[in-house]
Symmetry: C2
Subunit: 211 residues, 2 copies
DNA sequence: ACTTATAGCGTACGATCGTTCGTGCTGTAA
DNA sequence: TTACAGCACGAACGATCGTACGCTATAAGT
């Protein structure tokens, strides 16, 4: 009854990877196991690993899929906003919403993978680091545009702002997952609002006349 | 040649636990393995696990020791400072220094354990959550005292401040471990300074006259 | 001196890990 | 119809996991 065409193969692979992402978000990329994953998708171990060759490749595939999911859920909805202050606010709101919605059953995949692999050299660690570095750049770029447009203090440091925004959102994920603190999302939004200036009006063109 | 006294036993246990903490800080509490740990301290598996009974007990012992190390390195040095704003600034500086010094070879133990166990029900998760909750309370308490003393805006939210301080420091640990970013420590200090008011003088008693 | 408690070891168990190999079965192409 | 390419399977591999049992040797208590 199965047709075994190339198209079906891709579907199988997608099914496996999607499940792997969910499992890894709760149990970690290392806690991900071929045997358990196989039984969850109704396959044999050998039939499953065949699509990847090795567990590390499976981890990389899961990481890639998780990154795509993050991008689709957080960035894509706001990519069309005007670059700079407006988009930066939008992406942070989207980010909070992404956490609130529980896109990954085990909390932010990239947060977990970051701390799991930060001491394990290899392609997985490299990919996680590169992905997060890229994300910080995305944030810093809009921060820089906002600064040049006068929507942030002229002496604001885009990279510092990106660091703090990232820390805030990761902190919200942490508090929600470990402490089951639903208020963490609101706290994150409050912190973001303060970092990016008041909730609505703002102009910094004429600030910092002294010092 | 071994003397096998109660005192020596405790020393052995301490040796094991200390090593377990270091290993777990890099490989995770689940990545911690009885066999590898035993060979690292020059013991047999059975001789080692005998001190704990089960792996979960070993994990709990490592967690307890890690908490003690964190407390000794971060809190104890500043416990004598005047409660409130002064001590809060001191504990944050001590916290940054703790990260900078690399007290744990794999980065902040509690950060890693938090994200590793936030989805694994059991006594380890419970203990991690309780420890972190206590830590947030410690921060919030001094924040409250500082607020009452007029060293913070009278409408400041101690729990919000504790959340943001914690997120900032965890973010620094993250950036340092994953991105090998040494500047993360400075960024964290900058963020802390802004959260707790300017670097030196500050008074908020007469602020917020409107609104 | 004799008993008792205990630290540590060696061995073994069943389970599960990632990976490899050989074998069908199915849809596509020649 | 025949040949082929590819998906999935079952079985088995060696390794390692956590744990249990039994033994020896020593220090402490009587």
């Amino acid at each position: 009854m199965a047709r075994r065409t190339r198209e079906d193969t891709d579907n199988t692979r997608t099914t496996i990877v999607d499940r792997a992402v969910d499992v890894a978000s709760t149990d970690g990329l290392e806690g991900l196991t071929i045997g358990r994953l196989a039984s969850q998708v109704g396959m044999s171990k050998s039939g499953l690993i065949r699509h990847f060759g090795t567990k590390e490749k499976l981890q990389l595939a899961a990481l890639e899929a998780a990154t795509a999911r993050f991008t689709a859920e957080v960035w894509t909805p706001v990519a069309g906003e005007p670059p700079g202050h407006v988009r930066l606010r939008a992406v942070c709101a989207s980010w909070v919403s992404y956490l609130r919605r529980g896109v990954f059953p085990g909390g932010c995949f990239l947060s977990a993978a970051s701390l799991e692999f930060d001491d394990r050299p290899g392609p997985v660690r490299d990919e996680v680091a590169a992905t997060m570095q890229r994300w910080l750049w995305v944030l810093a770029r809009d921060a820089e545009i906002a600064r040049e447009a006068g929507d942030l203090p002229h002496d604001a440091d885009p990279q510092q702002l990106a660091f703090e925004l990232n820390a805030t959102l990761m902190g919200a994920n942490w508090a929600h997952r470990l402490l089951r603190d639903q208020a963490a999302f609101d706290r994150a939004q409050v912190a973001v609002d303060r970092l990016l200036g008041g909730s609505s009006e703002h102009e910094f063109e004429h600030a910092n006349m002294s010092a």
